[in-house]
Amino acid sequence: MTIEKEITCIICPIGCKIIIKKEGERLNILKGNKCKKGIEYARNEIFDPRRMLTSLIRVEGGEWPLVSVKSTDPVPKDKIFTILKEIHNTTIKAPIKSQQVILKNVANTGINIITTRTVHLLKNNNFFYKR
């Protein structure tokens, strides 16, 4: 079976429209990608669609109530909500540095969840939110 399809690349804000042609297990990138990353994206989008996942984890004793986190690599699309559940069930203690590993091998994907910002300890007068 041959399928011709347009895929919008999400690697960067340009959003190239990549035309692909799939014949059985063979995939041809016909046109539209402005860089090499688009080829890989289109291939994955057909055989193994993945997304970067960003969310937040609850923090105790920090100047902020939350710390932003991300997956170290794109995660399988169908695992997003399973991973989010693990993230939502986690609480960590301040102080927190950026790039700290919080969840290892999340949902058995081999991918870690790491922090993306610094959260200092809450000191007197130093909170950014009303508790």
Binding site: T8, I11, C12, I14, R51, T54, R117, Y129
Partner: protein
């Protein structure tokens, strides 16, 4: 009153202010002070937890907080001074700034001022939606701050008006946090956010995008109960008989951003009606000598990468303004006015005070296929560039060489699109 002097005072410590401050320092400005009313640096980036920042500029995709921390560390290591929780109240043509913080009133005398005040969101007032005035109506950026910074969920069943990036990204955030997202309503025939956000924020989760639709009624007594959506024709007029009601407790408005220039306006900095930002020359200087602008208060940028790139230019020009004032030289001639012609919504800079290679940024008025961009001075063609397709969502950047000859002979430049 606390009095201080500085070479460069930057108003706003978002990515634009930080990039401009770093660049001014690198171009030999000594005392560089950044003022921000927030308790933190980085402007709105700490609430933009999604990734996609820095791809063009740094070659890696970062989240907003990561991008901000990269710049904050760079700025700190260069000895730039920061005053957070400090709100600038006004400044004057002598470049004296009045600000206020917990310690009291602060007076700063600067050699140059850089405006980096960012932008704010359009509210319900801008779209004049009829109906009641219940609670549950928020702008998308405020919701983003509530959820991502303060851990507050604004509602459970959400409709989003406007398909700008902030709205699209919030559709996904709300979904991730367990809300029901009923749909995104857009009155244009195309999404106004980036294509990547339509794919990964709406399509991925089967969130409906109602193009050519608007909200024509808001109902609810104390809390929002439902909205009426209606199809619009090509003149944006609602079509009778197409009304549809959607039950919801929360409405997010993602109607676009307006450059924040209230401060600049008070001293008479001229504003371009189309960009909403100050009129600037090729050195990104406003109509008040010594006052420069960068970032989203100059024009609303698509990406932070491009914004930082231009903000660094602003920092350089601001430093050069007092360090090599003579070398820059002002021409006896007043300069050229740059017009946005057929097919073009705006062009920055809006005026040119000397010849040389000029960096232009512009936006088109509507999406088109293959077209040719023309830069003309009177009848003379300065630059001609074929473009495969254009969209108001994507800013166009071009460099053009304005020769001394053209500069002296012409009074204005015009940028137009000419369909092939």
């Amino acid at each position: 009153m606390i009095e201080q002097t500085a070479d460069v005072v930057v108003i706003g410590g978002g990515p634009a202010g930080l990039a401009a401050a770093i660049s001014a320092k690198q171009h030999r400005a000594n005392r560089v002070i950044v003022l921000d009313r927030n308790q933190w640096l980085g402007g709105i980036l700490p609430q933009c937890i999604h990734d996609g920042f820095g791809v063009e500029e740094l070659g890696v995709s970062m989240t907003g907080p990561e991008y901000a921390e990269t710049y904050i560390e760079m700025a700190k290591s260069q000895g730039i001074m920061f005053l957070t929780e400090t709100m600038v109240l006004r400044f004057n043509e002598a470049l004296e700034i009045i600000a206020v913080n917990k310690k009291g009133i602060l007076k700063l005398k600067a050699k140059v001022i850089i405006l980096a005040t960012g932008c704010r969101e359009k509210t319900r007032w801008y779209s004049m939606i009829p109906g009641t005035r219940p609670s549950g109506i928020y702008t998308a950026g405020v919701t983003q701050a509530l959820i991502n910074l303060y851990n507050i969920m604004p509602g459970k069943k959400v409709v989003i008006l406007g398909s700008g990036d902030v709205g699209l990204i919030m559709a996904r955030r709300l979904k991730f946090e367990g809300a029901q997202v009923m749909g995104v309503v857009e009155f244009l025939p195309y999404a106004s956010g980036l294509p990547r956000n339509v794919v990964q924020c709406l399509d991925d989760f089967d969130i409906p995008l109602y193009l050519n639709h608007t909200i024509t009624y808001i109902a609810g007594k104390e809390r929002l109960e439902k909205v009426t959506i209606q199809q619009v024709d090509h003149t944006m007029t609602p079509i009778p008989g197409t009304e549809k009601q959607i039950a919801c407790d929360t409405l997010l408005l993602s109607l676009g951003l307006i450059p924040e220039n209230e401060l600049a306006k008070t001293i008479g900095v001229e504003i371009d009606d189309h960009t909403g930002g100050p009129l600037v020359n090729q050195r990104l200087e406003t109509t008040i000598p010594g006052v420069f602008a960068c970032g989203n208060c100059l024009q609303v940028y698509d990406t932070v990468d491009m914004l930082s790139f231009d903000a660094k230019k602003t920092g350089q020009y601001a430093a050069e303004y007092f360090i090599r004032k003579k070398a820059i030289g002002q021409n006896s001639k007043k300069g050229l006015i740059v017009h946005a012609g057929v097919g073009v919504r705006y062009v920055v800079p809006q005026r040119i005070s000397t010849y040389g290679t000029i960096h232009f940024t512009l936006r088109v008025d509507k999406p088109r296929g293959a077209t040719t961009l023309l830069l003309t001075a009177g009848k003379k063609e300065v630059l001609k560039k074929k473009l495969l397709g254009v969209n108001p969502v994507s800013m166009i950047r071009i460099d053009a060489n304005i020769s001394a000859e053209i500069f002296m002979a012409a009074n204005e430049l015009e940028v137009t699109l000419c369909d092939n």
